[in-house]
């Protein structure tokens, strides 16, 4: 359950709106744990959204993006059943990817 | 009502200053701790232990362990005074809570 991605992609009126919630701690590197030790920075750096393999958005995130990040955007085209791909890589080199179909 | 309570808290803070004038020994510190502990037990049984009481008791035990009997006694007397105040508060509330209840 470590690297879940929740996706909603809906098409209407010739464009598709994508909403995603990504499970990630997004530790900024400025926060201390209960023992007073700094929690090392751990955050997603690059996230990519594709529609049928073509990139529709690239996000560059820093430590100031909230824990379990949310993003919403839309692009022209896309129809019910088309695959939407999401993949990310973080500052520790961890990655995750998923694919979901437009509703 | 609130003003009355605040008055009590102030008195509680003054008590230890007076007590620290006495000459402390290991025995007197230990007995002060025991007395405070008994009062704290009562406070806990009335579901009203103050965080400050527990902190003062922790200080007392630490000072005793380090051989600083005067500090241990002062902190224990402080803890007992705080515990007594919370017991007073809980006793009063046994009757007063009804006034706050919505009917």
């Amino acid at each position: 359950m470590a690297h879940q991605i929740l996706v909603h992609a809906m098409s209407s009126g010739g464009s598709t709106t994508v909403e995603a919630l990504i499970k990630h701690p997004m530790d900024s590197g400025f926060v201390k744990d209960k023992a007073g030790k700094i929690i090392p920075a751990h955050y997603i750096e690059v996230i990519e959204f594709t529609h049928k393999g073509k990139i529709v958005l690239t996000g560059y995130w820093g430590p100031a993006v909230s824990k379990n990040p949310f993003i919403k955007f839309s692009f022209k085209g896309g129809k019910s059943g088309d695959p939407i791909g999401i993949s990310w890589v973080d500052n520790k080199g961890e990655t995750a990817a998923t694919s979901s179909n437009i509703m | 009502m609130k003003g009355f309570r605040c008055g009590l808290v102030l008195v509680g803070l003054l008590v230890p200053v007076a007590a620290s004038a006495a000459v402390a020994s290991k025995a007197s510190a230990a007995s002060a701790i025991a007395a405070a502990q008994a009062e704290m037990k009562l406070a806990a049984s009335m579901q009203d232990q103050w965080i400050a009481t527990v902190a003062a008791m922790k200080d007392a035990r630490l000072a005793l362990k380090q051989g600083d009997f005067a500090a241990a006694e002062t902190a224990a007397v402080h803890a007992k005074a705080l515990a007594s105040l919370s017991v007073e508060q809980a006793k009063a509330q046994r009757a007063l809570w009804v006034n706050e209840a919505v009917h």
């Binding site: 690059v46 690239t58 100031a64 | -």
Partner: protein, 166 residues
């Protein structure tokens, strides 16, 4: 403080999410390990790391876009709260009414590092993105949009109070 009118008794979208999660359906919970058509991981090398470690708007824009010249514009609309209910999760979105938008960035000028996030926007994707950012304290939040090579922006002061009941 008085109560306000026009209440939402329930949130339909919340229901949708709950139902989708419960049913495990398309709205979609996906686990990478299980998803067969998973896309390849993006390349970390494209990350504009330098832009994320700057302490001023000018230095950030210079590192991100190669210029710090920016014009405030009514064509950039930005939505952010007046008072953040919690600095850890502040919804911020922008919507640019401009041609050929290729990139955008969200800055929080009083954060330890100014740039919160940036986006590369290909043709066909609308220059309107919503996300959630962290604000360390009360700060001006700036949405910068690159349109035809030029930078235009909108900004808003967002008040961050201590969470009183943590």
């Amino acid at each position: 403080m008085t109560e306000i009118e026009g209440l939402i008794l329930s949130a339909p979208s919340r229901r949708t999410v709950l139902a989708a999660v419960a049913a495990g359906t398309a709205a979609g919970l996906m686990r990478p390990a299980l998803s067969f058509a998973a896309a390849a991981a993006p390349r970390a090398s494209s990350y504009p790391a330098k832009a994320f470690i700057q302490h001023s708007q000018d230095a950030t824009l210079q590192a991100m876009f190669g210029t710090s010249s920016v014009t405030a514009s009514a064509d950039v609309k930005m939505d952010a709260p007046d008072i953040a209910e919690n600095g850890a999760v502040v919804p911020v979105s922008f919507d640019a009414n401009a041609p050929k938008v290729t990139a955008a960035a969200i800055l929080a000028l009083d954060n330890p590092f100014v740039m919160a996030c940036a986006y590369k926007i290909p043709e066909g994707t609308s220059p309107a993105i919503a996300s959630r950012i962290k604000l360390g304290k009360t700060t001006k939040v700036v949405s910068v949009v690159q349109s035809g090579g030029k930078l235009m922006s909108a900004s808003k002061q967002v008040k961050v109070t201590l969470g009183g009941c943590g």
